[in-house]
């Protein structure tokens, strides 16, 4: 039987929304306070949803220890307490939570073999959340 397992993680990071493709005036108009040159931070909540058949021997979609280890090693250690703008991943992309969602999805999709990746969801604040299901999925 197929089940969907979701695990939540937290990390904190700073960013500044600024696009080199736009003038300073445009950047300021579009990004507002998020364009502050010194940056600002968030406590991000990351939700990873994976799916698969429930293994009859273990009762699990995937071993949580494996998922936790992957996320800690490949994501939390890389992004927690960092300034996102200084990371190579954001050398050319604006570190919006949309782009962060797609980047984390890509890291999980390429590296995590324990179960099928369904979705990455981010809460940037309690009021804003973003989700990415990959390109081939339309949400019902």
């Amino acid at each position: 039987m197929k089940a969907y397992l979701t695990r939540r993680y937290m990390f904190s990071a700073s960013h500044r929304l600024h696009s080199d493709a736009m003038s300073d005036v445009e950047n300021s108009a579009i990004y507002g306070k998020c364009n502050n040159p010194y940056g600002h931070g968030h406590n991000y909540t990351l939700e990873v949803m994976v799916s698969g058949a429930v293994d009859e021997k273990t009762g699990m979609v995937c071993n949580l220890v494996d998922l936790d280890e992957f996320v800690r090693g490949q994501i939390l250690e890389r992004f927690d307490h960092q300034n996102l703008n200084t990371l190579p991943e954001f050398a050319r992309a604006v570190p919006t939570t949309e782009n962060l969602c797609m980047l984390i999805y890509d890291i999980l999709q390429r590296g995590f073999r324990g179960a099928h990746l369904e979705k990455v969801r981010f809460e940037e604040t309690m009021m804003n959340s973003f989700e990415y299901w990959g390109e081939n999925r339309v949400i019902e």
């Binding site: 039987m1 197929k2 089940a3 969907y4 397992l5 979701t6 695990r7 939540r8 993680y9 429930v54 021997k57 273990t58 009762g59 699990m60 979609v61 071993n63 949580l64 220890v65």
Partner: protein, 136 residues
């Protein structure tokens, strides 16, 4: 089609052990969850049903009936129980959150009349939950 979700909470204990595995394998695979004395969680259950809105009542489902069905079929059986020892589904199956979601689906699905069961979501902790949609 409208979807309605009702939440409930229950507390239960469990442990993970597969008698087909050696003691060492059980410890390696299930870690702390293998402690045979069990440990507990405050579970949150979300039951989502779907259906057309009845033009006379304006309801997808009579919430009072749904609540009663959830209490009778699920909460009375699971709340303040040791799942491995007191709930028949788990005498021979490991009471993971995945299997709990499946068992709750199987308990509720045949008992709902007006609305159709859409999803069972079980939170083991606020940071870990499983969804089951009745998929084979």
């Amino acid at each position: 089609m409208v979807y309605l979700t009702r939440k409930a909470e229950f507390s239960a204990s469990h442990y993970y052990d597969n008698p087909e595995f050696s003691a060492e394998e059980n410890r390696r695979i299930f870690g702390k969850c293998n402690n045979p004395n069990g440990h507990g969680h405050n579970y949150t259950l979300e039951v989502t049903v779907k259906g057309e809105v009845d033009p006379r009542s304006g309801f997808v489902v009579d919430l009072k009936q749904l609540k009663e069905t959830m209490s009778r079929e699920v909460l009375d059986a699971l709340d303040h129980r040791f799942l491995n020892k007191e709930v028949p589904e788990f005498f021979n199956r490991i009471p993971t959150t995945e299997n709990l979601a499946i068992a709750i689906w199987q308990r509720l699905s045949p008992k709902l009349n007006a609305a159709k069961l859409h999803r069972v979501r079980v939170y083991e902790t606020p940071d870990l939950f499983v969804d089951f949609y009745g998929e084979a």
